[in-house]
C-alpha cells in the first residue's frame, strides 16, 4: 500500500525475506539481460548483414559445431544451477518456521480470514503483528483451498482443508500491507482480502490488551476438553485411564500399531481427534470415537493448543502458555463467565 521504494512500481519490502527474494529477482533479471541482449543483437545483426541480395541464393552450407553446442549447453546449465541453489536456500528459510516464533492461528473460510492470537484476540481480515518479532501462522480452512499471501513480506502458503500448513515471517517495518487470498476459492475470491498491520511492540501490546475478548485458545481448548466434548473422561483419569496419556507427549516420537513410527505434532493431534483409529499408538485399542463433524476448525485449533500446553517442554512456540493441570481455579466452570485479562503466562515478554 505504500510505495516508497527507489525502484518505480516496486512492492514495499517489509520482512526479512524481502531483500533475499528481491536479490534473487535482480540476479535473474541480470541473467535474462545477459542472454537476451546478445541473442537479440545477433539476430538483428544477422538479419541486416545477411539479408537477401539475390533471389533464391544458395549460401554456403554449415552443419553445426560440436564445440559451440557443448559450450551453449554447459553455460546455461551452470547458470541454471546457481538459480536453483539460490532459490532452494531462500525457500528453505521461508518454509522452515523457527522454534521461537509467536504462534497465531488462521482459519480460512469462503471468503474471509479468521485469525486468533494466543492471548485470545480474534480478528477478521486483519492481522496485527509486532515488528522485529518472528511470527508463525498455523493455518487451515473450513472449506476449499485458500492461500495466505502477503506480497510485502514476499511469502505465501496455501491453506489446505484437512491439514495444517505454516507460514512464518519477521516484519521489518511498521505499516499496513496487503493481505490477499492467492488461490482461487470461488465466487468472492477477489474479496477475500485484508491487511497485515505491523506495529511497534508497545503499540502491539496496547492493541492486544485493548481488544481482549473471550478465552485464549488454551483456555478454550481446556473448556472443550473437560466440559463440552468430554475428552477428560478418558484422557485425564490418571493411572488406569482408558485413553492415551496426553501429558508430555508433543514433539516425541512414538511407535504405532502396524510398526510405523512418527513424531507427535499438530498434524498428528488433529488427525487423532478427527480420525482416531487411523494412527493408534502401540499398546492402545482403537476405541476412541471420531469427532469429525462435531468440532469446528477453530475448536480443533484450541484443542491442539491445549494438548500442546500439556507438554510444557516441547518447543512449540514461545507464546504457547503452559496452562498446567495444577491451575486449579481455572478448572472451574468457565462456560459463560467472561474472563479477566490474560494471565501472566500469556502476555508477551
Amino acid at each position: 500500500m505504500q510505495t516508497t521504494s527507489w525502484v518505480p512500481l516496486f512492492p514495499e519490502q517489509a520482512s526479512t525475506f524481502a531483500w533475499q527474494v528481491d536479490a534473487l529477482y535482480f540476479y535473474l533479471i541480470a541473467v535474462s539481460i545477459a542472454f537476451t541482449v546478445p541473442i537479440v543483437a545477433a539476430i538483428v545483426f544477422f538479419a541486416l548483414k545477411y539479408r537477401e541480395t539475390e533471389k533464391f541464393a544458395t549460401p554456403e552450407e554449415m552443419h553445426g559445431s560440436m564445440v559451440l553446442e557443448t559450450v551453449w549447453s554447459i553455460i546455461p546449465f551452470v547458470i541454471s544451477m546457481t538459480i536453483f541453489l539460490g532459490g532452494a536456500i531462500i525457500f528453505f528459510n521461508q518454509y522452515t518456521p523457527p522454534d521461537d516464533a509467536m504462534e497465531i492461528y488462521v482459519v480460512g473460510k469462503q471468503w474471509m480470514w479468521k485469525i486468533q492470537h494466543q492471548t485470545g484476540q480474534r480478528e477478521i481480515n486483519e492481522l496485527h503483528v509486532p515488528v522485529g518479532r518472528k511470527v508463525k501462522l498455523t493455518m487451515t480452512t473450513e472449506d476449499v483451498i485458500h492461500d495466505f499471501d502477503i506480497p510485502a513480506f514476499r511469502t505465501k502458503a496455501d491453506v489446505v482443508p484437512g491439514r495444517y500448513t505454516y507460514l512464518w515471517f519477521e516484519a521489518t517495518k511498521t505499516g499496513k500491507y496487503h493481505l490477499f487470498c492467492a488461490e482461487y476459492c470461488g465466487l468472492n475470491h477477489s474479496g477475500m482480502i485484508g491487511s497485515v498491520i505491523v506495529m511497534e511492540q508497545r503499540d502491539f501490546d496496547n492493541w492486544l490488551s485493548g481488544t481482549v475478548s473471550g478465552q485464549t485458545p488454551v483456555e478454550a481448548g481446556k473448556d472443550l476438553f473437560e466440559n463440552k466434548l468430554g475428552c477428560a473422561s478418558c484422557h485425564a483419569g490418571g493411572q488406569g485411564q482408558r485413553g492415551a496419556v496426553l501429558e508430555g507427549i508433543v514433539g516425541k516420537d512414538v511407535k504405532l500399531v502396524g510398526g510405523t513410527s512418527l513424531t507427535r505434532d499438530d498434524q498428528y493431534l488433529r488427525n487423532s481427534i478427527l480420525n482416531p483409529s487411523a494412527q493408534v499408538v502401540e499398546g492402545y485399542q482403537p476405541i476412541m470415537p471420531t469427532f469429525k463433524g462435531q468440532v469446528t476448525e477453530e475448536q480443533l485449533n484450541s484443542l491442539v493448543a491445549y494438548i500442546k500446553s500439556l507438554s510444557p517442554n516441547a518447543a512449540t512456540g514461545a507464546a504457547t502458555a503452559p496452562a498446567t493441570n495444577s491451575a486449579a481455579p481455572m478448572a472451574a466452570n468457565t462456560n459463560s463467565a467472561p474472563k479477566p485479562a490474560a494471565p501472566a503466562g500469556n502476555s508477551n515478554k
Binding site: 510505495t3 512500481l9 516496486f10 534473487l24 529477482y25 535473474l28 535474462s32 542472454f35 541473442i39 545477433a42 539476430i43 544477422f46 545477411y50 537477401e52 541480395t53 533471389k55 533464391f56 541464393a57 544458395t58 549460401p59 554456403e60 552450407e61 554449415m62 559451440l68 553446442e69 551453449w72 549447453s73 546455461p76 541454471s80 538459480i83 536453483f84 532459490g87 532452494a88 531462500i90 525457500f91 528453505f92 518454509y95 476449499v144 483451498i145 492461500d147 506480497p151 514476499r154 505465501k156 502458503a157 489446505v160 482443508p161 484437512g162 491439514r163 496487503h178 490477499f180 492467492a182 488461490e183 482461487y184 470461488g186 465466487l187 468472492n188 475470491h189 477477489s190 474479496g191 469429525k292
Partner: protein
Amino acid sequence: MQTHDAISAGNASDPKPNYLTNGSTLKSWLLTKDHKRIAIMYLISVSVFFFAGGLYAATIRLELLTPGSDLVETATYNRVFTQHGILMIFFFLIPSIPAILGNFLLPLMIGAKDLALPKVNLLSLYIYWIAGVLVLFALMQGGVDTGWTFYAPYSTTFSNSYVMLVGLGIFINGFSSILTGLNFIVTIHTMRAPGMTWFRLPLFVWAHYATSLVMILGTPVVAITVLLLAIERLAKVGIFDPSIGGDPILFQHLFWFYSHPAVYIMILPGMGVVSELISNFARKKIFGYEFIAFSSIAIAVFGFLVWGHHLFVSGQSMYAGMVFSFLTMVVAVPSAIKMFNWTATLYKGSISFDTPMLYAMGFMGLFLIGGLTGLFLGAMGLTVHLTETYFVVAHFHYVMVGGQVIAYLGGIHYWWPKMTGRMYSEFWGKISAMLVFVGFNLTFFPQFILGYQGMPRRYAAYPEEMQVLNIFSTAGASVLGIGLLMPAVYLAHSLVFGKKAGDNPYMHPGLEWRTSSPPPTENFEKMPHVTWEAYEFGEESGLDLEEARKRDLATVA
C-alpha cells in the same frame, strides 16, 4: 512474389484436380479420409474456438480496465476466465498446430499418400466435434467457474456450475489428442518415402514425433483425473475431498502430471514450425540439426518429471519441491539449445523477410522472454512470491501466445499457398504480424510488473494503485485483437482474389513444395525418392534455381 503467376502459368490452362476440387458435396467432406480435408475442417473448427476464447479474453481485459468489479458481475467474471482457459487450452492450443498443420503436412513432408490410419484421423475429428459441442452446450447452460485447473475440493464439492458436463467434454476431447498422436507416431515410423531417413526428416516432423509421445502418454492421465473427479462428485467417494477422506493435493499432482506435459504439447509443435521458417527463409541448412531434433525429445521426456513445480506452495514436501525445481532448471537447457541454434542458423544466410519470417523472428524474441521468466518461476524462493500472481499469467502467455500462437500464425501464412493455392497480401500480412507483436508485448509485459507488485490472478477487482499498468495491458489487448482479426479478413479475401501461388513460390526444398498447390488427393503423382539431406538449398536438392531466377526477373521486368 511476382513470380507466382509465371510459375503457375503452365498449370492455369489445364487445371489439374486437387484435393479441394475432388468432390464438392457436403458428404465428400464429412466422410473424407483425406488428411488435407480433415486438416481444413480442423482449421475452421479450431478458429471458431479461438474466436470464442478471444471474446472471453476481451471481456477479461475490459473488466480489468477499472479496479472495481463493475463491467460484469464477479460470478460472471469467474466463469469468463475459466472458460477462456478451457477453450483456449483444450480446444485451440492443443489441437492448433498438430491437428491443422501437422495433419496437413506430415504426410506431404515424408512423402506419404496419407496418414497411416486415415479413418482414425477422421474419428479424432469427430471426437473433437462431439467434445466441443458438449462444452459449448455447457457454456450456454451457464458455464463453469472453477478455473481451468479444476482444483478440488472447490470443483468436487463447492462449485454449483456445470463441472461435470465440461469435465465430460475434456475427457472426450482427450481421446482426439490420443488418436492424433498415435496416428502421427505410426505414420512417421511406417510411411516415410524411400530415401527419407530419420535424419532427413524436417524438424517439424521431429517436433511432432515428440509431441505425439506426450499426447499418448500424458492425456490418459487427465482422463483418469476427470473420471476420479466425477466419481467423487457423483458417488461421494472420498478421493480428493478431505471431509470424506480424500486428499486435495492428490488432485493437483494428477492434474499437473498431465497439464505440465500438455504445456509441451502446446509449445513443441510451435518450435517445429519455427525451425522450418528460420531455416527456409534464411535459405540455410539448420544449424545443429541433431541437437534441435533431440532437444525436442529431451523436452518431451523431462517434461514429464517437473509437474511438482506447480505445487511449491501447496503443502508439498519441501524436499520434493527441491527435486522438482532442479529438474525444472534442467529442462530449460534443451530450450536454450534450440534458441542458440536458430540464431546461429541466420549466420551467413540469405534472409528474406516475408510475413512468416516476421512471425518466426517475433517468436524468437517472445519465446526468449517466456523461457527466461520460466526460470524465475522455477526458482523456489522467488516463486513463493510470484506464484498465483500476474507474473505467472504473463509468463505462460509469453510461452503460449508469444510461442505457440505466433508460430501457428507463421505456419498458417507459410503454408497457405500450399493449402489453398493462393497468395495472400504480403502488405497486410506484414502489418498484422507487427501489430500482433507490438500488441502482445503491450498486453503482457506490464503484467510481469503487476505480478511482482503482488496482483493475484483470477481477481475480478484489484487495489487501485495497480490500475495504470492494467490500462496499458487492456490497450495492448485491443491492438493485439485487431492484429489477430486482420488475417481472417485478408486470408479469406485471398481465397478468391489472391494470386495463384504456383507449386513452389519460395523455391524451398521440402517435399511438400514438390507437388502441386493445392496438392492432389493422393499428394504426389509419383512416389518421391529422396536423395538429398534436409534443408538442402543448392542444386543438389534438384530444384531448378536458375530457371526460377530467370522467371523472377522476367516478371519484375
